[in-house]
């Protein structure tokens, strides 16, 4: 009995602690990837903390995949996340009444199709009977890869075709590339450059070459609508720093690389080689433009792949940008 009582009291205390710490909490998620340089560098410079003020408790959550970040937004364990357009669209459509919405763009471009040095792939028609890796299902590179396959009349193995698509985390792609167990990989930076520079992979193309004007959304900023409505000052302070950081990165690539690596080293314990990050940064355009035409295209492709449910989709209300409802 005494024991049960202690547990009850403990739980009650814990619950109150949770409630207290919920006050003025602002939880942002992003990935330690180069395309996420805006939040990474902004955090390292301390500019986000400065702009949102001391009353707000800023908490950072590092993720490795967009679908995972969207799950966390749904469950209310984060308020805002930097994700690719695939998860952003899926998140908006699957959330109750479209409560997960895009509030800004963050990056354009920055993925590549890299071929293993032992593989003879030179064009799409050589992809029969190959194993290709991409990040999680429904992620932007996965959508691009599967669309590319479909465009060239190639069918993935789970539908009885000859191309095996392995949806695995980027570090695992690296491992399989080293062991020679995959023929190609459709990956974001810095992994694409790492495969090329460290493992002698051959970059068949940059994904931006497949897009009109060479621009496509690769990272956007999404947030829970309720949080934005309840904390307009915090969100606009964040966006202001978000914009200025994008500008700063474009102007100062060398310093950007240093800060990026400093952050990654302190969070993950190991930085990327400077040369890799320099190339990766050049391959990405940091912009607050959502490149919305490309988001429409991503939605069409995701729908064609059966990712958006069976009943069609409607992107109306996807954006919630600068005061527009």
């Amino acid at each position: 009995m005494a024991c049960a009582g202690a547990v009850m009291v403990g739980l009650a205390v814990y619950a109150t602690m949770l409630e207290d710490s919920n006050e003025n909490r602002f939880r942002v998620a992003f990935f330690p990837n180069v395309a996420h340089a805006i939040p990474v560098i902004g955090m390292e410079m301390g500019s986000f903390e400065r702009s949102i003020g001391e009353e707000v408790n800023l908490e950072v959550r590092l993720f490795d995949s967009g679908p995972q970040a969207i799950e966390a937004l749904f469950s209310g364990s984060i308020d805002m996340a930097y994700v690719g357009p695939g998860p952003a669209i899926n998140g908006f459509l699957k959330s109750t009444d479209g409560s997960v919405r895009i509030i800004s763009g963050a990056a354009s471009g920055g993925s590549s199709f890299v071929i293993h040095p032992d593989s003879q792939i030179a064009q799409a028609s050589d992809l029969h009977n190959t194993r290709i890796s991409a990040p999680q299902i429904g992620n932007s590179q996965d959508i691009s890869l599967r669309h590319y396959l479909a465009q060239h009349n190639l069918v993935p193995a789970e539908k009885g075709g000859s191309v095996t698509v392995l949806n695995i985390a980027n570090p695992d792609t690296y491992t399989l590339f080293v062991k020679g167990e995959i023929d190609a990989a459709w990956v974001p930076e810095p992994w694409a450059t790492i495969l090329v520079e460290e493992l002698n992979g051959h970059r068949l193309f940059h994904e931006e070459e497949l897009w009109e004007d060479g621009m496509f959304a690769s990272v956007v900023l999404v947030a829970r609508q309720q949080f934005v409505e309840e904390n307009p000052e915090t969100v606009s302070a964040w966006l202001k720093t978000h914009n200025s950081t994008a500008h700063w990165i474009r102007e100062n690539p060398t310093e950007a690389r240093e800060l990026f690596n400093k952050y990654v080293e302190s969070e993950l314990g190991r930085a990327f080689p400077d040369g890799i990050i320099d190339i990766a940064l050049q391959n990405i355009h940091f912009t607050t433009d959502t490149v919305s035409t490309s988001i429409d295209v991503f939605a069409e492709r995701a729908d064609a792949l059966g990712y958006l449910g069976r009943n069609g989709y409607n992107l109306e209300g996807l954006y919630m940008i600068s005061g527009s409802p």
């Binding site: 679908p67 969207i70 799950e71 749904f74 899926n90 998140g91 699957k94 959330s95 109750t96 999680q136 299902i137 429904g138 193995a157 789970e158 539908k159 009885g160 095996t164 392995l166 949806n167 695995i168 399989l176 062991k179 167990e181 059966g306 990712y307 449910g309 069976r310």
Partner: protein, 251 residues
């Protein structure tokens, strides 16, 4: 008296009706709690693009391969354990220990040893099932009336005759229940491994549902996994077991 079948059907109809009612009550949003209709719709969709059948085919292929390895390996190991004292005293204790490892715990090792391949998943399946077969076979043989063995020896049975014509037939009821248990472990092992490998099969389709926040696909695949489990258990193992039990005069 209401016949058993009627009771069963009534129960499932009621279950689906309650499920549909809860889904329609909008207690939970239907992206989290889909209706039975949406689940069936998802099954139909996966069937129409072929992914359902390829998923089933892949999983069943891995299941059967893994199970055959486990059945054969378990039988051999079980016989040795029962007949050779030193094997029982040494390997026997290890087998008991290994049996307590859930098969998915072998996945990390399988990924490193075999990479993302069918062999890796078959390895996990086989290793999850083999010890159940081993232990059952071994206790089946240990329970054989020692007079039978002495009689066979007196009649000049050599090692091979002994195994094929005496030990296995006499221990068969145990062996069959070992197979049945091993099969159940194997099926869990396949799905668990596929979930973690995320490399084709029904486990992969479960993962797709998760990544796309598609709860109705997840439930559809779970129902299919259950269906296949019940199907093979009821139509294959139950029938074989019943026949063996009545032929050996145990029922």
């Amino acid at each position: 008296m209401i016949p058993l079948l009627t009771k069963k059907i009534a129960f499932y109809v009621a279950l689906i009706a309650v499920w549909q009612a809860v889904a329609m009550s909008e207690l939970w949003p239907n992206n989290i709690f889909p209706s039975p209709y949406q689940v069936v719709e998802d099954l139909a969709f996966m069937a129409s693009d072929g992914s359902l059948f390829h998923g089933m085919g892949t999983s069943l292929f891995r299941l059967v391969s893994g199970f055959l390895i486990a059945a054969l390996g378990g039988l051999v190991l079980g016989i040795f354990m029962a007949r050779v004292k030193i094997v029982d005293q040494t390997i026997g204790s290890l087998v008991l220990g290994l049996q307590s490892i859930p098969s998915v715990a072998w996945v990390p090792l399988a990924i490193l040893w075999f990479g993302l391949t069918d062999e890796g998943i078959i390895f996990v399946t086989a290793i999850g099932a083999i010890f159940a077969v081993t232990i059952n076979t071994s206790s089946g043989i240990q329970n054989i009336n020692p007079h039978y063995i002495e009689a066979a020896r007196n009649m000049g049975a050599n090692g091979r005759d002994m195994v094929i014509r005496l030990l296995i037939p006499a221990a068969f009821p145990y062996v069959i229940s070992g197979f049945k248990q091993g099969w159940a472990f194997a099926w869990r092992g396949v799905i668990g491994a596929e979930l973690l490998f995320s490399f084709l099969g029904l486990g992969f389709l479960l993962n797709v549902g998760r990544q796309l926040n598609d709860v109705s696909q997840i439930i559809a695949i779970m129902i299919l996994i259950m269906g296949i489990g019940i199907g093979i258990d009821g139509f294959v193992f139950k029938k074989v077991e019943d026949r063996v039990m009545s032929r050996w005069g145990l029922r």
